[in-house]
């Protein structure tokens, strides 16, 4: 059956000038047929372990028919849309006036977003849900900016970023519960430990590139997670660490009572204070990440990262030390991951290995790539879209990851370079320099 479909494939790729109804129907019919075979057993039949442990099954032909019909209809709609939109790759000319408006909007969006973020706890003071969501989004913005150093700037594909998040979270959790160290002492320690692990990962992968690097980082992330699960005496294994202390306002706890911050300031205590404090804490950490990244980009090391991303061989030929460049990228990215992890631990009060699966790494990577690989604003917008979108589907618990996967595929097809394509190096020659012909033997240089 694969054959009949395969031979039809070339016809699908070469879209004739004005495909008629017959063509669209034929294509939709083929799609529906493929869907029928694909879903026949997986959806048409449902298996479940019966009361005696023996597997039983029942049929769901109604669902199957609905799915096939949906594919048929969807295929017609997609084909009509494609005709209406025209062939892919057509350059659409935007009127100059609209273009300049867009440029202004683009420049204005970052400050507006920043001011709005600062005002979120003021506007939504009573809405705990929005504040929690804001904290979650900002955590992913911070993770995205951290990973952006590794993937977006240095071009090193890291699929195990969640390992550093985990290292940071466990560093704070274990140091605080075992030694009673405060959050503000542990935060730098968590960053340093995560950076150290970043170097640990960096050394073996110095010689690898591209996909090999991706798979090794993925394996590294899994190793860290498996060790956390199995080293029960230290990490509590699958049960995780609980009773992690809440952060204090530079030593003053946010609790009711005479010692609390509320009493010292002379205002009435409210549990929302802690949420607002956490909000500004993660906002500060995220902005620190952003600021450090922007500053680093202007330093020689940042330029070396961008050179490395563009071309490793050329970069080496120019005398850039690849070892330090890669290791600093890994360490810097990991450090921010560690900060975010420590914040995550103090916010949750409880951590377990379940929070640090490959899905998290994929989510953060998706945020970075969707954000346009290297664009700080793009990453922030992508985090907002992804996490916000995730929340929209919270009601459909079991369909959430399915929708996430579909969205990831569709976004890649629609905009492979991310929402804001931005990969231009920070420095480049502003004018192309013409070299006079007597300097070059063959004419123009």
């Amino acid at each position: 059956m694969g054959d009949g479909v395969t031979t039809a494939a070339p016809a699908l790729t070469q879209i004739p000038r004005a495909p008629g109804i017959a063509f669209i129907l034929k294509k939709a019919l083929i799609s529906a047929l493929v869907a029928l075979v694909l879903f026949s057993l997986m959806i048409g039949i449902r298996t479940e372990a019966g009361p005696t442990g023996q597997l039983i099954y029942w049929t769901r032909f109604g669902d199957l028919a609905a799915m096939v019909a949906a594919v048929f209809g969807g295929s017609i709609i997609v084909e009509l849309l494609r005709q209406w939109w025209g062939p892919v790759g057509t350059i659409r000319i935007i009127p100059p006036r609209l273009q300049s408006t867009l440029a202004v909007a683009r420049r204005g969006i970052a400050p507006v977003l920043l001011i709005f973020t600062f005002l979120v706890p003021v506007i939504f003071y009573d809405q705990r849900y929005i504040l929690d969501l804001g904290i979650l989004v900002l955590t992913y913005v911070m993770l995205g900016w951290g990973l952006n150093v590794v993937v977006g700037l240095a071009g090193l594909l890291d699929l195990g970023y969640v390992a550093f998040y985990a290292v940071g979270a466990y560093s704070y959790a274990l140091l605080a519960t075992n030694f009673g160290l405060s959050f503000w002492v542990c935060l730098p320690l968590a960053g340093i430990l995560a950076a150290f692990w970043g170097m640990m990962l960096g050394f073996p992968v110095l010689r690898l590139r591209g996909d090999y690097l991706a798979i090794v980082t993925l394996a590294f992330g899994e190793i860290i997670r498996l060790v956390i699960i199995n080293w029960q005496s230290l990490t509590g294994g699958p049960n995780g660490v609980s009773g992690i202390p809440r952060p204090t306002f530079f030593g003053i706890p946010l609790v009711p009572g005479p010692d609390g911050l509320a009493a010292k300031l002379g205002i009435e205590f409210s549990p929302t204070h802690r949420i607002v404090f956490l909000f500004y804490l993660i906002l500060g950490l995220a902005l620190l990440t952003n600021w450090v990244t922007i500053r680093l980009r202007r330093l020689p090391i940042g330029r070396a990262w961008e050179a490395l991303r563009e071309d490793e061989v050329a970069c080496r030929a120019l005398g850039i030390n690849i070892t330090t460049t890669k290791l600093t990228a890994f360490a810097t990215g990991a450090m921010f991951g560690g900060f975010a992890g420590a914040f995550f631990a103090t916010r949750q009060g409880f951590i377990s290995p379940e929070s640090f699966t490959f899905q998290e790494s994929a989510l953060v990577l998706a945020i970075v790539v969707l954000g346009g690989m290297g664009s700080q604003l793009g990453v922030a917008l992508a985090a907002l879209t992804m996490i916000g979108g995730f929340e929209l589907f919270r009601g459909l618990e079991q369909y959430r990851m399915l929708v996430f996967g579909v969205a990831m595929v569709l976004l890649m097809i629609w905009r492979p370079r991310g929402l804001i394509g931005h990969r231009a190096p920070t420095v480049f020659l502003r004018h192309s320099q013409a070299i006079s012909s007597d300097l070059v033997k063959e004419g123009h240089g």
């Binding site: 494939a9 070339p10 493929v34 997986m42 039949i45 090794v216 394996a219 061989v313 890649m412």
Partner: protein, 304 residues
């Protein structure tokens, strides 16, 4: 010694399953140059389809085990191959000439889609089946320890060898195999010489998925269960196997699969079961440090 022999047998069986999955990775990587992250989930789908078709065949009253196995094998190969084709058509072909990361992320997305699709369609709980093939041979009996070779193990290894023979013949002797090797070397040139590149790539995914379906069915026979999450770990290990053997090399994939299967089994037998995955991944990292091209891979010369 007998303990070791038993573990060796177990390791080879597990390695055959990994090897079958690894071939799919290595073929796709060789031709398209991307890691097909969804391949592990294709393997999982293959296991599910084998399970469901097995249930149906048993319930309509078929009792001859070889006939059941043959039908289940063919059905799961055919449907899973179509899954492989569809995944390539939807998620990878539009990104063929896009920048390097795009197909990889699309593949990660596809992997989520497939595993959650089967979770939604078939439920999250593990599906056990009673042992389908029973019996076996006692090879050695010494000091009360028995080295056994079960019929399932024989079937897994024999099927793997037969499929490998067919597959090697396919790649080495047929028109399709020649097209595939041509596309692996240079897609543009192959297209200029009249090779239908799109079709060849599609067929690569179809064959890889069919082999993964066989691996899924073997997994079902050997372990007697499937669940929606099994594709992820098996997929990473099979990819490790492909890298270990030298990515792009078909005998390498099989060799790497055997190596990973043996390492995992022996590590669980002599050290600790909990850290068997850590051992497999550590081997991957160590191999890539000292032997970046794998056991049978060709060194790649990079130019500016």
């Amino acid at each position: 010694m007998d303990y070791f022999a038993q573990q060796l047998i177990n390791g080879i069986v597990l390695g055959s399953i990994y090897g079958l999955i690894a071939i799919g990775y290595t073929m796709v990587y060789g031709i398209v140059g991307m890691i097909n992250f969804a391949h592990g989930d294709i393997f999982m789908i293959g296991g599910f389809i084998a399970l469901i078709s097995f249930l149906i065949l048993v319930s309509i009253g078929l009792t001859v085990v070889p006939v059941i196995l043959l039908i289940v094998l063919l059905v799961s190969m055919a449907i899973t191959a179509l899954y492989g084709w569809t995944v390539e058509r939807i998620a990878y072909r539009p990104l063929r000439h896009s920048f390097r990361l795009a197909p990889m992320l699309s593949a990660i997305g596809m992997s989520f889609v497939l595993s959650n699709y089967s979770q939604v369609a078939q439920g999250a709980r593990v599906k056990p089946v009673p042992p389908i093939i029973t019996g076996g041979y006692t090879l050695l009996e010494q000091n009360g320890f028995v080295v056994r070779l079960s019929n399932v193990q024989i079937i897994v290894v024999v099927t793997t060898i037969v499929l490998l023979a067919i597959f090697t013949w396919l790649v080495a002797r047929t028109r399709l195999g020649r097209d595939m090797r041509a596309c692996e070397q240079d897609q543009t040139m192959a297209a200029l010489l009249g090779v239908d590149v799109d079709r060849t790539i599609s067929m690569t995914f179809v064959i890889g998925a069919a082999l993964a379906a066989v691996a899924g069915m073997m997994y079902l026979l050997y372990y007697g269960l499937v669940d929606f999450y099994m594709g992820f770990v098996a997929g990473i290990k099979a990819f490790t196997a492909a890298v270990l053997g030298g990515i792009g090399s078909l005998p390498g994939a099989m060799l790497g699969g055997l190596a990973i299967g043996l390492i995992e089994t022996l590590w669980s037998a002599y050290f600790s079961v909990e850290y068997k995955d850590v051992a497999a991944f550590s081997i991957l990292i160590i191999v890539l440090i000292f032997l970046p091209t794998g056991l049978l891979g060709r060194p790649e010369v990079e130019k500016v």
